[in-house]
């Protein structure tokens, strides 16, 4: 490869999760400043990119697939990214986001809404403006091929650093046994 080395095109995304994985990513803190020169953040919560771009090297995806929007975005991410990482327990297993799988969408919406005045976001009118909820929340690998898994709720910054620095060197991600835990 010719110098200067091209920057790693990094993208992150939030599907059905709590943003805690992204917070843990930000907890890299000053290490983020150090690698700011070797990465280009092309998509994610902190940038104003409007559409998931083409030619992404690494995509860290937080959260499980919970609705039609997540499903569509994840498909696009897969098509446009070289390495797709299941980032955190929700992405890896469904985790807390999938606790709703014990109930039907209808039961959930009935239980949470229809109490106060107004019209509940439940039914035909709602589906026209709001993305449909999937009957079951799915981990990423049920929907697309996943290249690497980073477990943890959230994965602690050390774990993220292990993965990210390997990917920056163009190597595969190897986590030590104690880095492969849930929770």
């Amino acid at each position: 490869m010719t110098a200067p080395t091209p920057k790693l095109r990094l993208a992150t995304a939030w599907l059905g999760g709590c943003s805690g994985c992204h917070m843990s990513f930000l907890d890299l803190g000053e290490r983020l400043i150090k690698i700011a020169d070797s990465i280009e953040l092309v998509y994610g919560p902190l940038v104003d990119a409007k559409e998931f771009p083409e030619g992404v090297d690494v995509a860290l995806i937080e959260g499980a697939v919970a609705n039609a929007d997540n499903l569509e975005l994840l498909g696009q991410i897969r098509e446009r990214s070289r390495v797709l990482v299941s980032f955190g327990d929700c992405a890896v297993s469904g985790n807390v986001t999938s606790l709703r799988n014990f109930f039907t969408v209808d039961d959930l919406l009935t239980a949470v809404y229809h109490v106060g005045p107004g019209s509940a976001p439940h039914g035909v009118e709602a589906v026209q403006v709001l993305p449909a909820l999937l009957p079951r929340v799915l981990p990423l690998h049920h929907v697309v091929t996943v290249d690497a898994y980073l477990p943890g709720c959230p994965p602690d910054p050390e774990r993220i650093w292990t993965a990210l620095s390997a990917l920056l060197r163009g190597e595969s991600v190897y986590l030590s046994p104690e880095q492969k835990t849930f929770g």
Binding site: C18, V47, L99, A111, G116, P154
Partner: protein
């Protein structure tokens, strides 16, 4: 015969949302809606579980304010047990909560809204982010990152991890604080304090530069609600729930939190998963029952800050209110957040100075003695309610969560409408407009992870539709 403009999703906020702007036949803005598009269902799937699990489960509602959820859940648990927690436990809870407010407010100012405030609303969208700020103002951006990190590090020191610490429990907290950890936290305070003061200065300068925005970004009368401490001091952990009216007069002073249902109702709309809480006596049909919560509301309901540096700032902040009344413009949320940041750092210093914080008795034990427990705290974005009902075995049979951003729902919708009316010209979509409308939402620093018990945040696209549903205009930012 109306047209609709859709902005989806909204960027640099903490959650999944879109905005639609509706034009009338004359091309004038008739209505604007802020749609929250995700749903997670915690109120349903927690049923049948033990309330003792709730701090750990509800933390997972939101990675930005997990400590607030854990504390509200633990306080509801204290009430179910009917215990008074040890004094050191309360001080430690306060300490960790301050740390979270610091990290959350620093995140909002430096990483989410800062790029608009410091680089400009119409600056290059590709650079209008943290990386752009690092390029343009490297020293400041680094200090901002370090300030947020300070808050996170304190949470980790006290509770073992910075996100979702397994630490607050009903009856108190799991671990006392060691002198070494106390000293470690104290050592970081001076730098944090100096960054906070720098941010306040920059915030004040931005307000001067952006007088126009301050005038029309969510500037309207409304009620305000927040907790106040003894003497009416600024308060984030425990206190009296106060509601003031448009002129600042006290409407409600709720000493018994279990009464919150008497003053707050929750309306619903078919086009958003976020409910619309309103002040019950005034009804939900009009804006009369609209109230705001969060940093601006807390400063408006408090009589004084209660710490010296924040008090000075609060005094000069009051000038933004008309004739001694509440500060009405939502653009001032930014500055209110910075004043709170300073307040939290001062409060942390005072807590660390108190020898009682090292007391090792940090947990009271009891069985479940009550059937209903309500926990209220001031999360970074405003009042947070957790209400639990349990059966004889302590298993939940009713859960209601009212989340900070929810309270502001009606005000956020009004704000988008106000900005669209001011800046949309001839039904044309421009990038600057798009960012302005989004910034109106960012003033509230909405945490949609919390509000819908969900999260996410993505890029945005704005579309203008004609009466027959044909696409008239569209704009999006390329990556």
């Amino acid at each position: 015969m109306t047209q609709t403009i859709t902005i989806a999703p909204v960027t640099r906020i903490e959650g999944h949302a879109k905005i639609t702007i509706h034009l009338d036949d004359a091309g004038q803005v008739a209505d604007a809606r802020f749609h929250v598009t995700e749903f997670r269902g915690f109120e349903k799937f927690c049923l049948g579980r033990s309330y003792r699990e709730m701090p750990a489960i509800t933390e997972r509602i939101c990675g930005i304010c997990p400590v607030s959820h854990a504390l509200a859940a633990a306080k509801a648990g204290d009430a179910l047990k009917g215990v008074k927690i040890p004094p050191a436990a309360e001080k430690l809870r306060r300490l960790m909560h301050c740390a979270q407010l610091v990290q959350s407010h620093a995140l909002s100012f430096f990483l989410l809204s800062g790029p608009d405030l410091l680089l400009g609303m119409e600056s290059d969208p590709k650079k209008r982010n943290l990386i752009g700020l690092l390029e343009a103002m490297p020293g400041l951006a680094k200090e901002g990152i370090r300030l947020r990190q300070f808050g996170q590090d304190v949470i980790r020191l006290i509770g073992d991890r910075s996100v979702h610490p397994a630490w607050a429990v009903s009856g108190g907290v799991r671990e006392p604080l060691s002198p070494e950890k106390r000293d470690g936290i104290a050592a970081g305070l001076p730098e944090a304090m100096s960054t906070a003061r720098k941010a306040l200065k920059l915030g004040n300068e931005a307000l001067e530069r952006m007088a126009e925005e301050a005038r029309c970004y969510g500037n309207f009368p409304s009620l305000f609600m927040g907790l106040v401490g003894g003497n009416g001091d600024l308060e984030h952990y425990d206190g009296t729930l106060r509601m003031v009216d448009e002129s600042g007069s006290v409407l409600e002073e709720c000493f018994d939190p279990s009464r919150y249902g008497d003053i707050i109702g929750e309306a619903e709309e078919s086009w958003t998963y976020l409910k619309f809480p309103y002040y019950k006596p005034r009804g939900h049909e009009t804006d009369a029952g609209m109230y705001r919560v969060g940093p601006l509301a807390r400063l408006n309901v408090a009589r004084q800050a209660g710490t010296p540096l924040a008090e000075d700032e609060l005094r000069s902040f009051r000038q933004f209110g008309e004739s001694g009344g509440p500060v009405q413009g939502s653009f001032y949320y930014h500055q209110a957040r910075l004043i709170e940041l300073l307040f939290c750092l001062e409060t942390m210093a005072a807590l660390l100075d108190d020898p009682e914080i090292l007391d090792t008795h940090v947990r009271s034990h009891a069985r479940t003695n009550n059937r209903v427990g309500i926990g209220i705290v001031e999360a970074p974005r405003g009042v947070l309610f957790h209400e639990y009902h349990v059966d004889d075995n302590g298993l939940l049979n009713y859960v209601n969560l009212i989340i900070a951003t929810g309270h502001n729902n009606r005000a956020m919708n009004r704000t988008v409408l106000q900005i669209a009316q001011r800046y949309l010209r001839g039904g044309r979509l421009e990038e600057g407009l798009l960012n302005r409308v989004e910034h109106g939402i960012r003033c509230y620093d909405p945490c949609l992870s919390c509000s819908t018990h969900v999260t996410g945040r993505m890029p945005m696209k704005m579309e203008l539709y004609g009466p027959a549903g044909e696409l008239l205009d569209s704009i999006s930012q390329s990556s």
